[in-house]
């Protein structure tokens, strides 16, 4: 079975080119449109009680903000409770550290095969690629992830990684890689993947998973899923490694109830998932299954930067439901691959600059029409458009300006010409005489307006000053009345 990763993925630095290519891909646009329309309709149906929805959103926002307000203490409490239960907790500041910790555990066990439940953080640290370079095979077990891994691609949606693929494409992939018959029967295709993966669970040395919520009070790691691949990956192999961003902690067990109540409904319009798995430590001495050894890797990778300041901190409330991308007019037209980041769509536009720096991601916060659809559907009320505006400002700010909370890559989009233009705008609009002079100049020489005006005229007619200024028109009106 070929599940090797091919590495020619789009990068966020080339976002503009990526999106142009995606816009030209008609089948992709069609399948995205159909999928997003269906997801939006299903969400609406299961969240039709407006009063319940708004009260639940407020509660979930409170749960997440409460946890973030005590984040360092909760992380320590989580570590204490996990350690008591026999879980080894590792902290990683960077991607490299997280990769090495996981590789170190694999090495101790002489592990050669890892089975992975769904984990966006493991995508973030490019774990498959890293382990492959060390001679270790990591196989994705979530069906969508399994498909994109086989195709040598990256997930294009955080909840439905293979949303961009048709069943015919999946069938061809399976045919070429698993030797199965060509079919457009989804049940059959699912069965082929089931057969291939059950051998992997059985023989894997290590199972890796993500974490939806980590409960500080009890040292419990929660996993939300439909397929059972998460349960199998965390139960059958002798070692379980969980990996999560440091922001995923909640204070108390009861906190997971409202969050879980919203997650499947907001994400895919499903009233509840098939499984909600709560793991509290490895197998105890008399128990007959479950991992003999368990680890948790807590990853920072820029999250502490977002945490440093109140407005940005709200980015970390996210529960990764993907609703913001399902409702985003930009995502729906270009798809997840164009972003070139682990997290696409609105949440990707506001979290990626913290993870990767604005140098690489400066175009992402501009990929937004500020329609606010994402804000309206976010189950934890993240003011996404506000964050977007702030990141645009940070990208435009002079790189030399001293600020209280510097953002990695500050000034990545700073342009001397643009800052001069804004200064002129400010100067002329802030002073009566200058403003009048500008008005006279613009109306008198309007015939000289260039027909080509940077990016604007690519999609719009050229801007041309009016024949008369507002003042002139008002003055004339007054005169006519007298």
């Amino acid at each position: 079975m070929n599940t090797q990763v091919v590495h020619f993925h789009p990068r966020p630095e080339t976002f503009k080119q990526n999106s142009q290519a995606a816009l030209a891909d008609k089948p992709l646009r069609k399948s995205l449109r159909t999928a997003m329309d269906m997801l939006m309709t299903k969400r609406k149906m299961v969240l039709s009680d407006e009063q319940e929805l708004q009260m639940l959103r407020t509660l979930c926002e409170h749960v997440r903000q409460h946890a973030l307000s005590k984040l360092p203490d909760l992380l320590v409490q989580l570590e204490e409770n996990l350690t008591k239960r026999g879980v080894r907790v590792h902290w990683a500041e960077t991607v490299e550290e997280a990769q090495q910790i996981i590789y170190g555990i694999m090495e101790t066990h002489n592990g050669k095969l890892m089975v992975k439940g769904k984990s966006m953080v493991s995508e973030e640290i490019e774990l498959n690629h890293y382990l492959e370079s060390k001679g270790i095979r990591a196989v994705e077990s979530d069906l969508g992830e399994f498909i994109v891994q086989m195709a040598g691609e990256k997930p294009t949606h955080i909840v439905m990684p293979a949303i961009h693929k048709t069943k015919e494409q999946v069938s061809e992939l399976f045919h070429n890689n698993l030797g199965t018959e060509l079919t457009d029967d989804v049940d059959k295709l699912t069965g082929f993947a089931r057969a291939a993966l059950r051998d992997i669970y059985r023989t894997a040395d290590i199972g890796l998973s993500g974490v939806n919520f980590a409960v500080a009070e009890t040292g419990t790691l929660c996993l939300v899923e439909n397929e059972g691949n998460g349960r199998l990956s965390t139960t059958v192999p002798p070692v379980h490694i969980a990996i999560t961003g440091i922001e995923k902690v909640v204070a108390n067990l009861t906190d997971v109830v409202p969050l879980y109540s919203q997650l499947p409904r907001t994400a895919i319009g499903q009233p509840i998932t098939t499984y909600f798995n709560m793991i509290t430590g490895p197998r105890r001495s008399e128990e007959l299954d479950g991992p003999q050894e368990m680890h948790l890797v807590l990853l920072d990778n820029g999250r502490s930067q977002a945490y440093g300041e109140e407005q940005m901190r709200r980015t970390l409330q996210c529960i990764r439901c993907g609703a913001c991308m399902n409702h985003c007019p930009v995502y729906t037209r270009i798809g997840g691959a164009a972003y070139g980041t682990t997290y696409p769509g609105p949440i990707g536009e506001i979290i990626s600059p913290h993870l990767m720096g604005l140098e690489k991601t400066r175009d992402l916060p501009t990929a937004c029409s500020m329609c606010g659809a994402c804000v309206e559907v976010c189950p934890v009320k993240i003011p996404i458009t506000e964050q977007m505006a702030r990141l645009r400002e940070e990208a435009q700010r002079s790189p030399n300006e001293n600020v209280n909370y510097p953002i990695k890559g500050q000034g990545a989009s700073h342009s001397f010409g643009e800052s001069i233009a804004w200064r002129i705008f400010n100067g002329s609009f802030g002073h009566t005489k200058a403003y009048r002079a500008l008005g006279w100049f613009s109306t008198t020489f309007r015939a000289l307006t260039p027909p080509w005006q940077l990016g604007w005229t690519e999609n719009h007619v050229p801007l041309k000053p009016a024949e008369k200024t507002l003042q002139q028109m008002l003055a004339e009106r007054k005169q006519n009345k007298q």
Binding site: H66, I147, M160, K167, V236, T254, N277, G308
Partner: protein
């Protein structure tokens, strides 16, 4: 400084102001669903579970084995993994053996019989801790007698559920069972057989875990199974 200390130092530097506890209890007091009576609640639970392809059979405490055997025979099962240390496991064993169905036990650690377990076991039989009416869910906990893979690896999962242990919501179940006080290694909420919609958003069952979930729902004497099947 270690990564741990660096991360904690950066977070502490932010000086976030601790907030009040969220009012989860108040929310669930106000927003919890309610039903006119026990029958309506059971009907709602069953409707939700059947919507995701769970097979529910209404049974009585004194004869649930009959249904277990009937369904096992209908499904052409050759064997079933049963606990030999629980009361219900012993009763199931006797019944299965009388019907010439092979009974398997979880006698050794999973590591020592994985290949056989994956290849040969047709079904697993467990009990459940409680049910959740609102979402159509059963809750199971791991134990020495019923390890978590008993409900996970075999293609068919039979679950014995005492309907008197039904809670309105997950919140009520969590409080009622005092879960936070002593968490088992694994608590699992199950709402149907394994499924996926990862290929073109088309729903397919039996992705990785059990393809069939059969719930033997034990009714108290005062509830007539026929009342539960009348259209709502």
């Amino acid at each position: 400084m270690s990564a741990r200390n660096n991360i904690l130092a950066k977070l502490r530097k932010a000086n976030a102001y601790p907030m009040d506890l969220p009012r989860t209890e108040e929310y669930y007091q106000e927003m919890s669903p309610s039903w006119d009576n026990e029958i309506e609640r059971l009907k709602h639970w069953a409707k939700c579970m059947r919507a995701v392809k769970t097979e529910i059979f209404w049974v009585r405490e004194n004869n649930w084995e009959e249904t277990l055997i009937q369904v096992a025979q209908q499904k052409n099962l050759k064997n079933m993994l049963v606990s030999k240390n629980t009361e219900h496991g012993k009763r199931a064993t006797t019944a299965l053996q009388a019907a010439s169905l092979e009974v398997r036990n979880f006698e050794q650690k999973i590591d020592d019989w994985k290949d056989e377990f994956f290849a040969e076991v047709d079904a697993g039989f467990t009990s459940s801790l409680c049910g959740i009416a609102h979402t159509g869910t059963i809750m199971l906990t791991s134990s020495v007698a019923e390890p978590r893979s008993q409900s996970l690896v075999p293609p068919v999962h039979f679950c014995l559920f005492d309907t008197r242990k039904m809670y309105d919501t997950f919140y009520a179940a969590m409080q009622g069972e005092k879960l936070a006080a002593d968490m088992p290694t694994n608590v699992i909420l199950i709402s149907g057989p394994s499924k996926t919609a990862d290929i073109q958003l088309t729903l397919a069952f039996g992705a990785h875990g059990p393809r069939d979930l059969v719930v033997l729902a034990v009714l108290p004497e005062h509830i007539n199974p026929a009342d539960l099947e009348v259209a709502a």
